[in-house]
């Protein structure tokens, strides 16, 4: 093995295709040149390799040093962002420009630009993070106001888009209290009932369940307050539970699983088990059975995890 390695390693070197441009770039950095020419050079390095962070960094310093018009730079970034949507630096460079006051565009126009990016790639991490930064950094009521509608449209397109769910939590809870949301109890009621509707539509959607848990934990609302809602999701469709219900009465508080729902839903069983665990000792057997049904039947890949929950509960009861 070692001899073969020695042989093969002889020519060990990386072979960049844009060697000329990167060589020039190195020369320019060494000489400390900051000029119009450097902007052209760094642009060509970046176009070939947008992950070349040194080129981005030197470009930014050059822009500032020669007082280049930042609005023009932002226009170039519009093009590059569409070309290199998945790239980190593209979004960060925009952010630097905006922090430096490049405002050919208003923050609202930035949100529209980001929305266009997300229409191609609805879960792009950097794009979402950049959107959240715009909102938090400029922190204008008018910017925040449009977000709920935007999120609802995104979830309309794909109720399983976790990035949109996270963005909802970001908007409603993570940044303090928004204008219009001052009545927190009302806000929480609104969020819980919105999420219930989405769960009813497609019950096996981890994003919606996680959001529901997030809202409840954030507001210290006991999971048990949702017991009525959760129960129909924990049993097979057309189970005995249906016989005692009158479907002609629509319970707005507790939307029922859609006709196509695949039941029982493991996330609902887990939720119910957590209710029982929180209620305490008397219910110990029942939540152990629920977890056990996940371990052995409904969510077998996570057998170990559900068994871990049982032993943790056991340990906290014993202590």
């Amino acid at each position: 093995m070692n001899q073969a390695l020695t042989q093969l390693l002889r020519s060990f070197i990386l072979k960049p295709a844009n060697k000329d441009a990167t060589d020039y770039f190195r020369g320019v950095v060494k000489a400390g040149e900051m000029s119009e020419r450097v902007l052209t050079l760094t642009e060509s390095v970046i176009r070939m390799n947008p992950a070349h962070y040194s080129a981005w960094q030197y470009r930014y310093r050059t822009l500032l040093a020669i007082n280049a018009p930042l609005d023009e730079e932002l226009e170039l970034m519009d093009e590059l962002a569409e070309k290199f949507l998945k790239n980190y630096q593209v979004w960060h460079h925009r952010r630097l420009l905006l922090q430096r006051g490049a405002l050919a565009k208003t923050p609202a126009a930035e949100l529209a630009f980001i929305a266009r990016g997300l229409s191609y790639d609805a879960k792009n991490y950097h794009t979402w993070a950049y959107r959240q930064w715009i909102l938090a950094y400029f922190n204008q009521d008018a910017l925040w106001e449009g977000e709920m509608r935007y999120i609802e449209n995104m979830l309309e397109d794909d109720v399983r888009n976790n990035s949109a769910w996270h963005h909802r939590f970001f908007v409603v809870f993570s940044n303090g209290v928004r204008k219009g949301d001052e009545d927190r109890e009302d806000t929480i009621r609104r969020e819980v009932s919105f999420t219930k509707e989405k769960i009813a539509l497609a019950p096996n959607n981890a994003s919606a369940w996680n959001y529901l848990r997030g809202v409840l934990e954030h507001s210290d609302t006991p999971f048990a307050s949702l017991r009525e809602f959760v129960l129909p999701y924990t049993v097979p469709a057309h189970s005995s539970l249906d016989d005692v219900r009158d479907d002609s009465v629509v319970d707005l508080e507790n939307p029922r699983p859609s006709p196509g729902a695949d039941l029982p839903c493991p996330a609902a069983i887990e939720f119910l088990a957590d209710i029982h665990e929180a209620v305490g000792d008397l219910q110990l057997i029942s939540f152990r059975q629920l977890w056990k049904s996940l371990a052995d039947e409904h969510d077998t890949i996570r057998k170990r995890y559900w068994e871990h929950r049982i032993s943790e509960a056991q340990a906290s009861r014993d202590s």
Binding site: L9, F12, N49, A51, Y53, Q57, W128, A206, Y211, R213
Partner: protein, 475 residues
């Protein structure tokens, strides 16, 4: 045997359609019950690594031109997982090429002449931990630690976070990289990490996993501050496997130091929610038990390490720790069946993730990949091997090792930081593999070397480099 598809609930969306498409592909990669099961093709992967190493990485990896230390780390650590050893001549070539990436202002760049960056610095230091040595030309003593420290401090932000490079973004990956390098090279100081643990804790989202960064409101000077209840620290971006690993590993490096710092408010993370989120990232049987990086996204072999590796890290917080329970007591506590009689307290499916790596992760011509039908690359190859290693081995902090290292500690500096350095050293080195708890789905022929859960180096390499920089006996 066929497994159940993920439920679409009669309501398909782009997410569920893409998911279904992948499940069909993956289920075709599960070997039929009467066929031999694929094993780890060590030789083929070794040859693939050597080929990359020798012929230069393929042209399409041009985007990696700014990640040269990473290509070294990914490849070298791959060799050491498989158990190959490089000869001195080749090691020297590696050392020389990596050292050429050291910047005159301190830190390492993505290539010669590139600006220093936290990620490249981590990759360079880690690669040097594999192949470097003390003394002239060995790399270790040529790392300019004084300049490296000022490079680190130049990136520090008032909220305890760090930029990844000058004028660049704050990103938990950078913080993990900085903490690893600083821990290995004996550079941790209270000044360096002041506020960092609180920043790390601020990244945990309502889902339980961690995001890449959070937003500091005091910098924003918001025009409508009065509408905000307090000074919130919203996470930018959702819970993500890669960031979660970096956040948890950072937390584990910082946690033992917290009570050595005088803190007004000791930061906390929610371990229960974190454990739940991590467990939910494992795909079902039809996905061959691979890990996802985010809720409702597709499985990818690299999360075998980023998510799978977190379960090893959690053991240092007491989650999933093996313990010996007298079998009688166990029986008494249980009213139902026999499955409870073992003491294996893993909280993830160590068996299934190995299946994903073997069946879906291996490319027939060598190297490992995200998922079929993709091609292999250096990044996915290393993190698939790392993930396989962490699933095979049980590694956890050992009280016995901790005690021994404490006893053997030699006080070198007559300074107030001695106790601090001792804690950092002992905690980082206390991880031990318990061979008896190993698990190989096809038998030990597939065995890889064990990884240090924090650094993703072999435990031997961690011991070697740390004992050098902390001036301790290597034991």
């Amino acid at each position: 045997m066929s497994f159940k598809h993920s439920s679409e609930d009669g309501y398909p969306t782009p997410t569920s359609t893409e998911q279904r498409r992948l499940e069909i592909i993956l289920s075709q990669h599960r070997p039929p019950p009467d066929h031999p099961k694929p094993t780890l093709q060590k030789n083929v992967h070794m040859q693939w690594l050597v080929r990359n190493f020798s012929q230069g990485f393929p042209e399409r990896f041009i985007s990696q031109d700014a990640s040269q230390p990473w290509l070294f780390f990914w490849t070298l650590q791959g060799f050491y997982f498989i158990g190959a050893e490089l000869d001195p001549q080749n090691k020297q070539r590696c050392i020389d090429t990596i050292m050429a990436c050291q910047h005159s202002d301190g830190g390492f760049g993505g290539g010669p002449g590139q600006f220093p960056h936290l990620l490249s610095t981590y990759a360079a230091v880690s690669a040097l931990a594999c192949v470097g040595r003390p003394g002239p030309g060995g790399g270790w003593d040529q790392i300019d630690r004084v300049k490296l420290y000022s490079f680190f401090m130049s990136l520090k932000q008032p909220d305890g976070s760090f930029l990844v490079s000058r004028d660049s973004e704050v990103d938990i990956r950078g913080i993990y990289c900085l903490l690893c390098a600083a821990t290995l090279l004996d550079m941790l100081t209270p000044e360096l990490v002041a506020g960092t643990a609180s920043f790390v804790a601020s990244l945990q989202t309502y889902e339980g996993g961690f995001a890449s960064a959070s937003h500091p409101y005091y910098i924003a000077d918001p025009p409508s501050l009065e509408t905000l209840a307090d000074y919130p620290r919203p996470a930018l971006g959702e819970a993500h496997g890669g960031y979660t690993f970096c956040a948890l590993a950072s937390w584990i490096l910082l946690r033992p130091l917290l009570d050595k710092m005088e803190l007004e408010r000791v930061p906390e993370i929610n371990v229960k929610n974190l454990t739940r989120w991590l467990a939910l990232m494992q795909g079902s049987e039809i996905e061959l038990g691979g890990f996802k990086g985010r809720t409702n996204k597709l499985v990818d072999v690299c999360y075998s390490w980023w998510v799978g590796g977190c379960f090893a890290l959690l053991r240092s917080l007491g989650v999933g720790v093996r313990h010996t329970v007298p079998s009688q007591q166990q029986v008494d506590n249980e009213d139902d069946d026999e499955q409870w009689s073992d003491v294996d307290d893993d909280v993830f499916n160590r068996f299934a993730i190995q299946e994903y790596i073997f069946y879906a992760g291996q490319h027939t011509t060598g190297g490992l990949r995200d998922k079929p039908p993709k091609v292999a690359d250096a990044y996915h190859t290393l993190y698939a091997l790392s993930g396989l290693s962490t699933a095979q081995h049980y590694t956890a902090p050992s009280d016995e090792v901790r005690e021994r290292l404490r006893k053997e500690w030699k006080q070198i500096h007559d300074d107030s930081l001695d106790e601090w350095r001792k804690v950092a050293y002992v905690e980082a080195r206390a991880w031990k593999e318990e061979e008896a708890a190993s698990m190989y789905i096809n038998g030990p022929g597939d065995r890889l070397n064990a990884a240090h859960p924090v650094f993703n180096l072999t435990i031997t390499h961690v011991g070697r480099i740390m004992s050098h920089f902390y001036k301790q006996n290597q034991s």
